[in-house]
Protein backbone atom coordinates (compact mmCIF):
# COMPACT_ATOMS: atom_id res chain seq x y z
CA UNK A 1 0.00 0.00 0.00
CA UNK A 2 0.95 3.52 -0.78
CA UNK A 3 2.33 5.42 2.25
CA UNK A 4 1.87 9.07 1.28
CA UNK A 5 -0.01 11.11 3.85
CA UNK A 6 -3.55 12.09 2.96
CA UNK A 7 -2.74 15.77 3.38
CA UNK A 8 0.03 15.56 0.79
CA UNK A 9 -2.34 13.80 -1.58
CA UNK A 10 -4.92 16.51 -1.06
CA UNK A 11 -2.52 19.32 -1.94
CA UNK A 12 -0.94 17.37 -4.76
CA UNK A 13 -4.38 16.73 -6.27
CA UNK A 14 -5.08 20.46 -6.23
CA UNK A 15 -1.76 21.75 -7.54
CA UNK A 16 0.84 19.35 -8.92
CA UNK A 17 -1.44 16.62 -10.21
CA UNK A 18 -4.49 18.71 -10.97
CA UNK A 19 -7.13 16.30 -12.18
CA UNK A 20 -8.08 18.57 -15.06
CA UNK A 21 -4.80 20.11 -16.13
CA UNK A 22 -2.56 17.08 -15.83
CA UNK A 23 -4.99 14.16 -16.11
CA UNK A 24 -7.45 15.73 -18.54
CA UNK A 25 -10.52 14.64 -16.65
CA UNK A 26 -13.72 16.60 -17.03
CA UNK A 27 -12.56 18.68 -19.97
CA UNK A 28 -15.94 18.50 -21.74
CA UNK A 29 -17.91 20.31 -19.07
CA UNK A 30 -14.87 22.47 -18.40
CA UNK A 31 -15.03 23.84 -21.93
CA UNK A 32 -18.82 24.02 -22.01
CA UNK A 33 -19.43 25.72 -18.66
CA UNK A 34 -16.51 28.08 -18.21
CA UNK A 35 -18.27 31.11 -19.65
CA UNK A 36 -19.03 32.83 -16.37
CA UNK A 37 -17.43 32.76 -12.94
CA UNK A 38 -20.73 32.25 -11.09
CA UNK A 39 -21.67 29.22 -13.17
CA UNK A 40 -18.17 27.84 -12.90
CA UNK A 41 -18.20 28.17 -9.14
CA UNK A 42 -21.59 26.47 -8.86
CA UNK A 43 -20.54 23.55 -11.02
CA UNK A 44 -17.22 23.30 -9.19
CA UNK A 45 -18.93 23.12 -5.80
CA UNK A 46 -21.27 20.41 -7.01
CA UNK A 47 -18.37 18.42 -8.51
CA UNK A 48 -16.31 18.72 -5.33
CA UNK A 49 -19.16 17.45 -3.18
CA UNK A 50 -20.11 14.57 -5.45
CA UNK A 51 -16.48 13.57 -6.06
CA UNK A 52 -15.64 13.41 -2.35
CA UNK A 53 -18.72 11.39 -1.53
CA UNK A 54 -18.49 8.99 -4.46
CA UNK A 55 -14.82 8.17 -3.92
CA UNK A 56 -15.74 7.25 -0.33
CA UNK A 57 -18.74 5.17 -1.39
CA UNK A 58 -16.85 3.47 -4.19
CA UNK A 59 -13.92 2.72 -1.88
CA UNK A 60 -16.22 0.95 0.54
CA UNK A 61 -18.02 -0.94 -2.20
CA UNK A 62 -14.83 -1.95 -3.99
CA UNK A 63 -12.95 -3.19 -0.94
CA UNK A 64 -15.82 -4.69 1.04
CA UNK A 65 -18.14 -6.00 -1.65
CA UNK A 66 -16.45 -6.43 -5.01
CA UNK A 67 -13.05 -7.72 -3.88
CA UNK A 68 -14.25 -10.35 -1.37
CA UNK A 69 -16.70 -11.68 -3.93
CA UNK A 70 -14.10 -11.67 -6.71
CA UNK A 71 -16.26 -9.43 -8.88
CA UNK A 72 -13.63 -6.84 -9.73
CA UNK A 73 -14.33 -7.15 -13.46
CA UNK A 74 -17.66 -5.47 -12.72
CA UNK A 75 -15.89 -2.43 -11.26
CA UNK A 76 -16.82 -0.02 -14.08
CA UNK A 77 -20.48 -0.79 -14.19
CA UNK A 78 -20.85 -0.75 -10.41
CA UNK A 79 -18.98 2.55 -10.07
CA UNK A 80 -21.03 4.31 -12.70
CA UNK A 81 -24.25 2.98 -11.15
CA UNK A 82 -23.17 4.23 -7.72
CA UNK A 83 -22.37 7.64 -9.14
CA UNK A 84 -25.65 7.91 -11.04
CA UNK A 85 -27.67 6.76 -8.05
CA UNK A 86 -25.85 9.10 -5.69
CA UNK A 87 -26.38 12.10 -7.96
CA UNK A 88 -30.08 11.25 -8.29
CA UNK A 89 -30.37 10.91 -4.53
CA UNK A 90 -28.64 14.22 -3.85
CA UNK A 91 -30.89 15.91 -6.36
CA UNK A 92 -34.04 14.66 -4.68
CA UNK A 93 -32.68 15.46 -1.24
CA UNK A 94 -31.65 18.99 -2.11
CA UNK A 95 -34.92 19.65 -3.91
CA UNK A 96 -36.92 18.54 -0.88
CA UNK A 97 -34.95 20.26 1.87
CA UNK A 98 -33.30 23.32 0.40
CA UNK A 99 -35.00 24.89 -2.59
CA UNK A 100 -32.46 27.72 -2.65
CA UNK A 101 -29.55 25.36 -2.92
CA UNK A 102 -31.52 23.44 -5.51
CA UNK A 103 -31.80 26.47 -7.72
CA UNK A 104 -28.10 27.19 -7.28
CA UNK A 105 -26.83 23.64 -7.87
CA UNK A 106 -29.80 21.80 -9.29
CA UNK A 107 -29.13 22.38 -12.96
CA UNK A 108 -25.57 21.14 -12.63
CA UNK A 109 -26.32 17.87 -10.89
CA UNK A 110 -27.52 15.84 -13.89
CA UNK A 111 -24.45 17.01 -15.81
CA UNK A 112 -22.21 15.49 -13.21
CA UNK A 113 -23.12 11.87 -13.88
CA UNK A 114 -21.43 12.11 -17.24
CA UNK A 115 -18.51 14.18 -15.96
CA UNK A 116 -15.55 11.88 -16.45
CA UNK A 117 -13.67 13.50 -13.57
CA UNK A 118 -15.98 11.79 -11.08
CA UNK A 119 -15.55 8.29 -12.46
CA UNK A 120 -11.88 9.04 -13.14
CA UNK A 121 -11.22 9.92 -9.50
CA UNK A 122 -12.68 6.60 -8.40
CA UNK A 123 -10.64 4.67 -10.96
CA UNK A 124 -7.40 6.45 -10.04
CA UNK A 125 -8.09 5.63 -6.42
CA UNK A 126 -8.21 1.92 -7.26
CA UNK A 127 -5.18 1.99 -9.57
CA UNK A 128 -3.03 3.87 -7.06
CA UNK A 129 -4.17 1.62 -4.23
CA UNK A 130 -5.14 4.35 -1.76
CA UNK A 131 -6.31 3.69 1.76
CA UNK A 132 -9.66 5.09 2.88
CA UNK A 133 -8.25 8.32 4.33
CA UNK A 134 -6.04 8.83 1.29
CA UNK A 135 -9.07 8.33 -0.97
CA UNK A 136 -11.01 11.00 0.87
CA UNK A 137 -8.04 13.36 0.51
CA UNK A 138 -7.77 12.54 -3.15
CA UNK A 139 -11.48 12.93 -3.89
CA UNK A 140 -11.71 16.22 -2.04
CA UNK A 141 -8.46 17.59 -3.46
CA UNK A 142 -9.43 16.48 -6.95
CA UNK A 143 -12.72 18.35 -6.69
CA UNK A 144 -11.06 21.48 -5.31
CA UNK A 145 -8.43 21.37 -8.04
CA UNK A 146 -11.08 21.02 -10.71
CA UNK A 147 -13.00 23.96 -9.24
CA UNK A 148 -9.85 26.07 -9.10
CA UNK A 149 -9.08 25.35 -12.74
CA UNK A 150 -12.58 26.05 -14.04
CA UNK A 151 -12.92 29.29 -12.05
CA UNK A 152 -9.54 30.53 -13.31
CA UNK A 153 -10.59 29.63 -16.82
CA UNK A 154 -13.93 31.41 -16.49
CA UNK A 155 -12.13 34.56 -15.38
CA UNK A 156 -9.79 34.36 -18.36
CA UNK A 157 -12.64 33.75 -20.78
CA UNK A 158 -14.58 36.76 -19.50
CA UNK A 159 -11.55 38.91 -20.36
CA UNK A 160 -11.01 37.14 -23.66
CA UNK A 161 -14.37 38.29 -24.97
CA UNK A 162 -12.81 41.66 -25.75
CA UNK A 163 -9.68 40.43 -27.43
CA UNK A 164 -9.12 40.14 -31.13
CA UNK A 165 -8.75 36.44 -31.90
CA UNK A 166 -8.11 35.06 -35.40
CA UNK A 167 -11.35 33.78 -36.93
CA UNK A 168 -10.71 29.99 -36.94
CA UNK A 169 -9.45 30.10 -33.35
CA UNK A 170 -12.60 31.64 -31.89
CA UNK A 171 -14.46 29.61 -29.30
CA UNK A 172 -13.11 26.21 -28.43
CA UNK A 173 -9.63 26.31 -30.04
CA UNK A 174 -8.50 29.39 -28.15
CA UNK A 175 -10.01 27.98 -24.95
CA UNK A 176 -7.88 24.85 -25.41
CA UNK A 177 -4.74 26.83 -26.02
CA UNK A 178 -5.33 29.03 -22.98
CA UNK A 179 -5.89 25.85 -20.96
CA UNK A 180 -2.54 24.66 -22.25
CA UNK A 181 -0.89 27.79 -20.90
CA UNK A 182 -2.72 27.25 -17.61
CA UNK A 183 -1.39 23.69 -17.52
CA UNK A 184 2.13 25.04 -18.04
CA UNK A 185 1.63 27.38 -15.09
CA UNK A 186 0.55 24.48 -12.90
CA UNK A 187 3.58 22.47 -14.03
CA UNK A 188 5.58 25.07 -12.13
CA UNK A 189 4.32 23.46 -8.91
CA UNK A 190 5.62 20.07 -9.98
CA UNK A 191 8.84 20.20 -7.98
CA UNK A 192 7.02 20.57 -4.66
CA UNK A 193 5.51 17.11 -4.38
CA UNK A 194 4.12 14.41 -6.55
CA UNK A 195 1.81 11.45 -6.30
CA UNK A 196 1.78 8.40 -8.44
Amino acid sequence: MNETSALVILFAAVFTNNILLSNFLGVCSFIACSGQIRTALGLGTAVTFVMTMTTMLNFVIYHFVLMPLGLDHLTFIVFIAVIAAFVQFVEMFVERFSPRLYFALGIFLPLITVNCAILGASLFMIIRDYSFVQSVGFGWGGGLGWTLAIVLMAGLRQKMRYSNIPEPFKGVPIAMIVTGVLAMVFMGFAGMMSIQ
Partner: protein
Amino acid sequence: MANKQQPSNCSSCGSGGMCQGRGLVTLKDGVWSNNPLAIQILGICSALAVTNRLENSLVMGAALVFVCVGSNLFVSLLRKVTPHRIRMIAEVAIIATFVIIFDQFLKAFYWDMSKQLGPYVGLIITNCIIMGRAEAFALRNPPLLSIVDGVANGIGYAVVLALIGFFRELLGTGAVMGYVLLDGAWYEPNQLMILAPGAFFAMGIIVAVFNALKGPDVEGKR
Protein backbone atom coordinates in the same frame (compact mmCIF):
# COMPACT_ATOMS: atom_id res chain seq x y z
CA MET B 1 -27.81 18.26 -35.39
CA ALA B 2 -27.07 16.33 -38.48
CA ASN B 3 -29.60 13.57 -38.38
CA LYS B 4 -32.78 15.36 -39.22
CA GLN B 5 -33.90 12.82 -41.81
CA GLN B 6 -37.01 10.83 -41.11
CA PRO B 7 -36.54 7.18 -40.16
CA SER B 8 -36.33 5.33 -43.45
CA ASN B 9 -39.05 3.06 -44.80
CA CYS B 10 -37.06 -0.10 -44.49
CA SER B 11 -37.14 -0.85 -40.82
CA SER B 12 -34.40 -3.33 -40.16
CA CYS B 13 -32.01 -3.75 -43.06
CA GLY B 14 -29.43 -1.75 -44.95
CA SER B 15 -30.58 -2.97 -48.37
CA GLY B 16 -32.38 -0.95 -51.01
CA GLY B 17 -31.36 2.26 -52.69
CA MET B 18 -32.56 4.62 -50.03
CA CYS B 19 -30.85 2.86 -47.18
CA GLN B 20 -27.54 2.69 -48.98
CA GLY B 21 -27.73 6.36 -49.75
CA ARG B 22 -28.37 7.11 -46.12
CA GLY B 23 -25.56 4.80 -45.13
CA LEU B 24 -23.10 6.90 -47.12
CA VAL B 25 -24.48 10.14 -45.74
CA THR B 26 -24.22 8.76 -42.23
CA LEU B 27 -20.66 7.64 -42.85
CA LYS B 28 -19.56 10.99 -44.22
CA ASP B 29 -21.31 12.82 -41.41
CA GLY B 30 -19.49 10.95 -38.70
CA VAL B 31 -16.05 11.00 -40.25
CA TRP B 32 -15.94 14.47 -41.69
CA SER B 33 -18.74 17.01 -41.69
CA ASN B 34 -19.92 16.28 -38.18
CA ASN B 35 -16.74 14.81 -36.76
CA PRO B 36 -17.42 14.12 -33.08
CA LEU B 37 -14.05 15.35 -31.89
CA ALA B 38 -13.04 18.24 -34.11
CA ILE B 39 -16.45 19.70 -34.97
CA GLN B 40 -18.76 18.75 -32.12
CA ILE B 41 -16.01 18.84 -29.47
CA LEU B 42 -17.24 15.75 -27.66
CA GLY B 43 -15.17 13.27 -25.74
CA ILE B 44 -12.02 15.32 -25.61
CA CYS B 45 -10.84 14.06 -22.22
CA SER B 46 -9.52 10.78 -23.53
CA ALA B 47 -8.38 12.41 -26.75
CA LEU B 48 -6.05 14.61 -24.74
CA ALA B 49 -4.90 11.98 -22.30
CA VAL B 50 -3.81 9.09 -24.49
CA THR B 51 -2.34 10.93 -27.46
CA ASN B 52 1.20 11.28 -26.14
CA ARG B 53 2.09 8.29 -28.32
CA LEU B 54 0.68 7.22 -31.66
CA GLU B 55 0.37 3.59 -30.55
CA ASN B 56 -1.83 4.49 -27.59
CA SER B 57 -3.96 6.69 -29.83
CA LEU B 58 -4.56 3.86 -32.28
CA VAL B 59 -5.56 1.41 -29.55
CA MET B 60 -7.89 3.97 -28.02
CA GLY B 61 -9.40 4.65 -31.45
CA ALA B 62 -9.99 0.93 -31.93
CA ALA B 63 -11.60 0.76 -28.49
CA LEU B 64 -13.97 3.54 -29.37
CA VAL B 65 -14.96 2.00 -32.70
CA PHE B 66 -15.68 -1.30 -30.96
CA VAL B 67 -17.70 0.19 -28.12
CA CYS B 68 -19.58 2.62 -30.34
CA VAL B 69 -20.59 -0.10 -32.82
CA GLY B 70 -21.59 -2.50 -30.08
CA SER B 71 -23.60 -0.03 -28.07
CA ASN B 72 -25.27 1.49 -31.13
CA LEU B 73 -26.28 -1.97 -32.34
CA PHE B 74 -27.81 -3.05 -29.05
CA VAL B 75 -29.45 0.27 -28.22
CA SER B 76 -31.00 0.16 -31.68
CA LEU B 77 -32.13 -3.46 -31.33
CA LEU B 78 -33.74 -2.71 -27.99
CA ARG B 79 -35.14 0.68 -28.96
CA LYS B 80 -38.74 -0.53 -29.21
CA VAL B 81 -38.80 -2.34 -25.89
CA THR B 82 -36.87 0.19 -23.78
CA PRO B 83 -39.23 2.37 -21.74
CA HIS B 84 -38.45 6.00 -22.41
CA ARG B 85 -37.89 6.92 -18.77
CA ILE B 86 -35.15 4.43 -18.06
CA ARG B 87 -33.43 4.65 -21.43
CA MET B 88 -30.40 6.48 -20.04
CA ILE B 89 -29.57 3.83 -17.50
CA ALA B 90 -30.15 1.12 -20.10
CA GLU B 91 -27.74 2.87 -22.45
CA VAL B 92 -25.13 3.22 -19.74
CA ALA B 93 -25.44 -0.46 -18.87
CA ILE B 94 -24.98 -1.48 -22.52
CA ILE B 95 -22.00 0.83 -22.98
CA ALA B 96 -20.37 -0.31 -19.76
CA THR B 97 -20.72 -3.94 -20.84
CA PHE B 98 -18.78 -3.32 -24.03
CA VAL B 99 -16.15 -1.26 -22.24
CA ILE B 100 -15.64 -4.10 -19.76
CA ILE B 101 -15.25 -6.59 -22.63
CA PHE B 102 -12.58 -4.41 -24.24
CA ASP B 103 -10.82 -3.78 -20.95
CA GLN B 104 -10.68 -7.49 -20.12
CA PHE B 105 -9.38 -8.19 -23.62
CA LEU B 106 -6.56 -5.65 -23.18
CA LYS B 107 -5.71 -6.99 -19.74
CA ALA B 108 -5.56 -10.55 -21.06
CA PHE B 109 -3.54 -10.02 -24.24
CA TYR B 110 -1.88 -6.59 -24.10
CA TRP B 111 -1.03 -6.05 -20.45
CA ASP B 112 1.53 -3.28 -21.10
CA MET B 113 -0.95 -1.32 -23.18
CA SER B 114 -3.61 -1.77 -20.53
CA LYS B 115 -1.19 -0.37 -17.92
CA GLN B 116 -0.36 2.63 -20.10
CA LEU B 117 -3.94 3.55 -20.87
CA GLY B 118 -4.71 3.25 -17.16
CA PRO B 119 -8.15 4.49 -16.20
CA TYR B 120 -8.87 5.96 -19.62
CA VAL B 121 -10.30 2.72 -21.00
CA GLY B 122 -12.85 2.69 -18.20
CA LEU B 123 -13.57 6.32 -18.86
CA ILE B 124 -14.95 5.45 -22.30
CA ILE B 125 -18.19 4.86 -20.37
CA THR B 126 -18.50 8.57 -19.71
CA ASN B 127 -17.31 9.52 -23.18
CA CYS B 128 -20.01 11.81 -24.48
CA ILE B 129 -19.61 10.60 -28.07
CA ILE B 130 -20.95 7.13 -27.36
CA MET B 131 -23.80 8.31 -25.18
CA GLY B 132 -24.55 11.03 -27.70
CA ARG B 133 -24.74 8.62 -30.62
CA ALA B 134 -26.96 6.25 -28.68
CA GLU B 135 -29.33 9.09 -27.76
CA ALA B 136 -29.29 10.96 -31.04
CA PHE B 137 -29.06 8.15 -33.55
CA ALA B 138 -29.45 4.57 -32.38
CA LEU B 139 -32.68 5.24 -30.48
CA ARG B 140 -34.51 6.15 -33.66
CA ASN B 141 -32.79 4.22 -36.42
CA PRO B 142 -32.66 0.57 -37.54
CA PRO B 143 -29.77 -1.63 -36.37
CA LEU B 144 -27.71 -1.79 -39.58
CA LEU B 145 -27.76 1.95 -40.07
CA SER B 146 -26.83 2.36 -36.42
CA ILE B 147 -23.81 0.13 -36.94
CA VAL B 148 -22.75 2.35 -39.84
CA ASP B 149 -23.16 5.37 -37.63
CA GLY B 150 -21.10 3.72 -34.90
CA VAL B 151 -18.32 2.86 -37.36
CA ALA B 152 -18.39 6.38 -38.82
CA ASN B 153 -18.18 8.16 -35.50
CA GLY B 154 -15.61 5.74 -34.16
CA ILE B 155 -13.44 6.26 -37.22
CA GLY B 156 -13.95 10.00 -37.11
CA TYR B 157 -12.70 9.96 -33.55
CA ALA B 158 -9.85 7.55 -34.28
CA VAL B 159 -8.56 9.58 -37.23
CA VAL B 160 -8.35 12.81 -35.26
CA LEU B 161 -6.80 10.93 -32.35
CA ALA B 162 -4.17 9.42 -34.63
CA LEU B 163 -3.41 12.85 -36.09
CA ILE B 164 -2.86 14.37 -32.67
CA GLY B 165 -0.90 11.35 -31.50
CA PHE B 166 1.33 11.43 -34.57
CA PHE B 167 2.28 15.09 -34.20
CA ARG B 168 2.71 14.96 -30.44
CA GLU B 169 4.99 11.93 -30.57
CA LEU B 170 6.88 13.29 -33.56
CA LEU B 171 7.55 16.72 -32.07
CA GLY B 172 7.96 15.41 -28.54
CA THR B 173 10.45 12.63 -29.20
CA GLY B 174 11.54 13.01 -32.82
CA ALA B 175 10.39 9.46 -33.58
CA VAL B 176 7.07 7.80 -34.30
CA MET B 177 6.46 4.21 -33.22
CA GLY B 178 10.19 3.56 -33.14
CA TYR B 179 10.99 5.12 -36.53
CA VAL B 180 13.22 8.17 -36.20
CA LEU B 181 11.80 10.84 -38.48
CA LEU B 182 13.36 13.97 -37.06
CA ASP B 183 17.06 13.28 -36.56
CA GLY B 184 18.49 14.18 -33.16
CA ALA B 185 21.48 15.74 -34.93
CA TRP B 186 19.50 18.82 -35.90
CA TYR B 187 16.18 18.42 -34.12
CA GLU B 188 15.97 18.99 -30.39
CA PRO B 189 12.86 17.07 -29.19
CA ASN B 190 10.38 19.36 -27.52
CA GLN B 191 9.42 17.52 -24.33
CA LEU B 192 6.52 19.88 -23.77
CA MET B 193 4.55 18.23 -26.54
CA ILE B 194 4.26 14.91 -24.73
CA LEU B 195 3.38 16.61 -21.45
CA ALA B 196 -0.06 17.95 -20.55
CA PRO B 197 0.19 21.45 -22.08
CA GLY B 198 1.21 20.01 -25.45
CA ALA B 199 -2.02 18.05 -25.55
CA PHE B 200 -4.11 21.18 -25.14
CA PHE B 201 -2.08 23.09 -27.73
CA ALA B 202 -2.31 20.27 -30.28
CA MET B 203 -6.04 19.86 -29.75
CA GLY B 204 -6.66 23.60 -30.05
CA ILE B 205 -4.72 23.80 -33.28
CA ILE B 206 -6.45 20.76 -34.80
CA VAL B 207 -9.90 22.17 -34.02
CA ALA B 208 -8.84 25.52 -35.49
CA VAL B 209 -7.64 23.80 -38.67
CA PHE B 210 -10.97 21.97 -39.01
CA ASN B 211 -12.78 25.27 -38.46
CA ALA B 212 -10.71 26.96 -41.13
CA LEU B 213 -11.25 24.14 -43.64
CA LYS B 214 -14.97 23.96 -43.03
CA GLY B 215 -15.44 27.64 -43.67
CA PRO B 216 -17.46 30.26 -41.83
CA ASP B 217 -20.62 28.21 -41.27
CA VAL B 218 -19.19 26.63 -38.11
CA GLU B 219 -18.85 30.00 -36.52
CA GLY B 220 -22.53 30.31 -35.70
CA LYS B 221 -22.28 27.36 -33.33
CA ARG B 222 -20.28 29.15 -30.68
